[in-house]
């Protein structure tokens, strides 16, 4: 108890300590702001300088409002407000407290005027304020803004900030801002400009290119040469990064194709069963995710970030269970009659679609991204979104787990035995019916897992499966039925090919061209990329 009291005392003391200086400053800041409308432009310049010196959090915003002509005096009570447009109406908010003051009538307020000299003053003050802001994010943004402005007048300020700045990333941004400003400065020396060029060359992005390109025509031969070198270099690296970004997009599409096709690689590739309901099993996985998220939202919202991990095994079980039911109830009567299997499973796909439509309705359902799947990060000049990255990793994980199951586990061995020689396997005591059901169930379950991942990037609707069925068959056939590695290679090569064609042809035409290519490819190599060749297949 004693301890708690002491703790409370400390905390309270700390609070007072923290708040006290703000109170003092707030007093003066408020007074200064209130003094803004008074006097002439020269007086106003002094007040602005004082406001900047307070270092108050609100200073930058207030000065920005002043600069943009949004700082007004309400005629009704002479109070200071910041106005903004909402539609056709003008809305006011108290300049100091931010409190909403409602709609302002036309001519109900008077703008605090500034002239060009004041504007310069204001810009410098705002720059100083934000460049010295305690929040590093704001400082970085300010440094980047300074880079974009490329105004020679800010060079001195930037140098002074550079002396105290410790954050490495912000220092880099500031250096670049200095370089950009120096290039724009007619009075800067050639040596300074050469330094600036090398800084920008390191930066190497589109903006650096925009700044450097005009310099190629510079009268100063040294500058022109350095600039041209830098431009060539930057363009080269941009091409490489562009290439890398395309490869990444392609891999991302490839991982989606892989997910959609990998279950089919088992049912079609290993068992030889044409499962047209495969897409619907993917859809079931997606709806399982939706149902899990709904349950979590209702009961344990704090578990939302875990929803996909909870949904994955459930989706595997749901889709796998449906798969086993399909195999036992229908497909097993049709072994050796692949075309009939195709038709019957198509029928099942219609039933599954309509079932889902009846339960969940015909519209798209919203499946949320957990926090760890949203957002993106920069890798060099590439943008990589987390959801695509996770899906790629997930697809590869599923692939290798499947490979392991098939090659290294007893059930995998039995599966391969049954597909290679059913009679012999049966004679050796393998329950072929059970193995068939399990194999089909495994393929179906993996389709369900794919559904969990695809729910993150695609619309979850009863038609989800339909949009994947042609693609996934193409992938399996292109890779060579029976070859799991072939499916992997096919998925990624088709994905990348598709993305590389898109800039020239557009998305739809790229897809059509890929389809036409596969159709032609199958004519040439009917057994796919990784054909299982030999006499047995030739028969």
């Amino acid at each position: 108890m004693h301890f708690l009291l002491r703790l409370l005392g400390r905390v309270l003391g700390l609070c007072v300590l923290l708040i006290a200086p703000f109170m003092v400053q707030a007093q003066s800041f408020d007074d200064l702001v209130r003094a803004l409308p008074e006097g002439k432009f020269d007086d106003r310049a002094k007040v602005i300088a004082q406001i900047a010196q307070t270092g108050d959090d609100r200073a930058a915003d207030t000065l920005t409002a002043l600069l943009e002509g949004n700082l007004h005096v309400l005629k009704a009570d002479d109070s200071l407000v910041v106005i903004s447009k909402r539609g056709t109406q003008t809305i006011a908010a108290d300049a100091l407290s931010g409190e909403d003051r409602g709609v302002v009538k036309k001519r109900g307020s008077k703008k605090i005027r500034v002239n060009n000299a004041l504007r310069r003053e204001l810009r410098a003050a705002i720059g100083r304020l934000t460049l010295a802001h305690p929040d590093p994010v704001r400082r970085l943004a300010a440094a980047e803004a300074a880079f974009k402005a490329a105004d020679p007048s800010q060079i001195a300020l930037l140098h002074s900030v550079l002396e105290t700045e410790e954050n490495k990333k912000i220092r880099g941004a500031l250096t670049e801002a200095v370089a950009a400003s120096q290039l724009a400065d007619a009075e800067a020396t050639t040596a300074d400009k050469l330094d600036a060029i090398s800084v920008l060359r390191k930066r190497g992005d589109q903006e650096a290119l925009t700044l450097l390109s005009p310099l190629v025509q510079s009268d100063d031969p040294a500058l022109a040469e350095a600039a041209e070198e830098a431009v060539v270099k930057i363009e080269q690296s941009k091409r490489l990064w562009g290439l890398a970004q395309n490869v990444w997009f392609g891999m991302s599409l490839g991982s989606v194709l892989l997910l959609a096709a990998i279950g089919l690689a088992i049912t079609f590739g290993v068992m030889g069963v044409i499962n047209m309901a495969h897409g619907e099993l993917v859809m079931l996985g997606a709806y399982t995710t939706f149902a899990v998220q709904e349950a979590i939202r209702g009961a344990f919202p704090e578990l939302f970030d875990w929803s996909l991990l909870i949904a994955a095994p459930l989706a595997f079980l749901v889709a796998g269970g449906v798969g086993v039911a399909i195999e036992r109830g229908c497909v097993r009567y049709l072994y050796g009659r692949p075309l009939e299997t195709l038709l019957a499973t198509w029928g099942i796909s219609l039933i599954l679609q309509q079932t889902v439509r009846s339960i969940f309705g015909p519209n798209n359902r919203e499946v949320g991204n957990p926090s760890w799947m949203s957002g993106a990060f920069e890798l060099g000049q590439m943008t990589i979104t987390y959801n695509r990255l996770w899906i790629l990793l997930f697809a590869l994980a599923v692939f290798f787990v499947l490979l392991f199951v098939l090659k290294k586990t007893p059930i995998g061995l039995q599966m391969r035995a049954v597909t290679q020689n059913r009679q012999m396997a049966a004679d050796m005591g393998i329950r072929t019916g059970w193995v068939d059901a399990m194999t089909f169930g495994l393929g179906a379950g993996i389709a369900g897992l794919a559904g969990v991942a695809l729910s993150q990037i695609d619309n979850v609707s009863p038609n989800l499966g339909q949009s994947y069925i042609v693609d996934s068959f193409m992938v399996v056939v292109f890779g060579g039925a029976g070859s799991i590695w072939g499916t992997l290679a096919a998925a990624f090569s088709l994905g990348i090919a598709n993305k590389f064609m898109e800039p020239w042809t557009g998305a739809v035409l790229a897809k059509i061209l890929v389809l036409v290519f596969i159709i032609l490819f199958i004519q040439k190599r009917p057994r796919g990329l990784f054909a299982v060749r030999g006499r047995a297949v030739d028969q």
């Binding site: 044409i274 047209m276 229908c330 009567y333 049709l334 050796g336 009659r337 692949p338 075309l339 009939e340 299997t341 195709l342 038709l343 019957a344 198509w346 029928g347 099942i348 796909s349 219609l350 039933i351 679609q353 309509q354 079932t355 439509r357 009846s358 339909q466 069925i469 042609v470 068959f473 193409m474 056939v477 739809v508 035409l509 897809k511 059509i512 389809l515 036409v516 596969i518 159709i519 032609l520 199958i522 004519q523 040439k524 009917p526």
Partner: protein, 384 residues
């Protein structure tokens, strides 16, 4: 007898009665016992029936399970639709005498080159046959020569129609994109909305179906038909007898595609629209169930199956839209498992008291999957 055996005779007689009675009931009888929409609806079914016969010719007799016949149907439909668009002339919303409305809307400067000639009816009629025929020829030439068979062939035919669907959805293709071709006014100067024109179209559909059935029957009854069945049952063996299997397949595939094109061409003026949805893989697979339900390799059965399923679809989607997909799905499953010979095979099997052992013998026959009525082939052959 020749082409018209008992089964064909009954069907053609029924078809004749229908094509006379329906327009009569619509146009001539007082009180109009047959509403106009029924005439168009039944006309649509007859087009489906012709499409089913076309598919049966390749699937039932040659073992080529095409999942792309909807594409040939749609291409025939588009060819006819293009003519009907041109016939609108300057009566469109934008009153442009040369460009159809959608082209004006999409800022076309001039008619694309492939639209030229479609203002002439005879040209459009040739295209109705030529375009699906050419596509089937090119596709089949590649596929059959490289011996793509079975499910692989099915899958790439599906990819073909899927690719065409994506292509026709694009506005840049010049076929009206999403909306397709519609707002037709008249054909050869006859108003498409008038009951008389509709009755004529219905009658023509009946005639086309009869012609299609007889052509298909003539082909399957000939020695060529026997070679086709041989290909279906034991393709490799047929090659070793000296038959170029790919040529036979190509022939029947092209004939079938043209037949599907004609069906599409008659379908479009009766429903008043053609859009890329007709290319969707689901449509093509639905054709297969018509044939499977009626009975593979029976021609007449395929036509009956199409009418039955299409009729059920109209009724069910009207009464209980939720149930239709369940019913269709169940139909696929039940027919393939329990009714491999289709309704016609079941009825005729009963009638002839076919022994169970024979059925088993047929089912066990090698090849991918074959369910044919032996009696039909034998009946023809003894005479010669």
């Amino acid at each position: 007898m020749g082409l018209i055996d008992r089964r064909m005779g009954i069907f053609l007689a029924g078809l004749f009665v229908l094509t006379v009675a329906i327009p009569y009931g619509n146009l001539a009888m007082s009180g109009q016992p047959v509403p106009s929409y029924v005439v168009s609806l039944l006309g649509k079914y007859l087009c489906y029936a012709l499409l089913a016969v076309a598919l049966d010719l390749v699937w039932g007799y040659c073992g080529i399970l095409s999942l792309g016949h909807g594409a040939f149907f749609a291409l025939g439909g588009y060819a006819m639709g293009m003519h009907l668009m041109r016939e609108i002339g300057d009566r469109g919303v934008y009153a442009n005498p040369d460009l159809p409305d959608f082209m004006v809307f999409l800022n076309y400067e001039a008619l694309p080159w492939y639209w030229h000639g479609f203002d002439m009816f005879w040209f459009a009629c040739i295209m109705v046959l030529a375009v699906p025929g050419l596509l089937a020829f090119v596709f089949g030439w590649f596929a059959f020569r490289s011996r793509v068979t079975g499910v692989y062939l099915s899958i790439i035919t599906q990819a073909m129609t899927y690719a065409l669907m994506l292509a026709f959805f694009r506005n840049e293709m010049g076929f009206g994109g999403n909306n397709g071709l519609t707002d037709f006014k008249d054909v050869l100067g006859f108003d498409l909305q008038s009951d008389v024109t509709r009755a004529w179209l219905f009658g023509l559909s009946g005639l086309a179906l009869a012609a299609g059935l007889l052509i298909a029957k003539a082909i399957t009854d000939s020695k060529l038909g026997k070679v086709l069945i041989a290909v279906r049952d034991a393709e490799s063996r047929t090659r070793f007898l000296g038959y170029r299997v790919e040529e036979y397949k190509l022939f029947v595939f092209v004939v079938s595609a043209m037949m599907a094109g004609v069906a599409g061409a008659l379908y479009v003026p009766q429903v008043g629209i053609i859009n890329p949805g007709e290319f969707s893989p689901a449509n093509s697979i639905e054709i297969v169930i018509w044939v499977a339900l009626g009975g593979r390799g029976t021609l007449v059965g395929a036509a009956l199956g199409a009418i039955l399923v299409a009729g059920a679809k109209t009724l069910l989607t009207g009464w209980l839209p939720e149930v239709w997909l369940f019913a269709l799905g169940a139909l696929f499953v039940l027919v393939t498992i329990f009714l491999p010979k289709g309704v016609l095979g079941l009825i005729e099997g009963r009638q002839k008291g076919q022994s169970a052992s024979r059925e088993r013998a047929a089912a066990r026959a090698d090849g991918v999957d074959l369910e044919v009525r032996p009696e039909e082939l034998r009946g023809e052959e003894v005479k010669s």
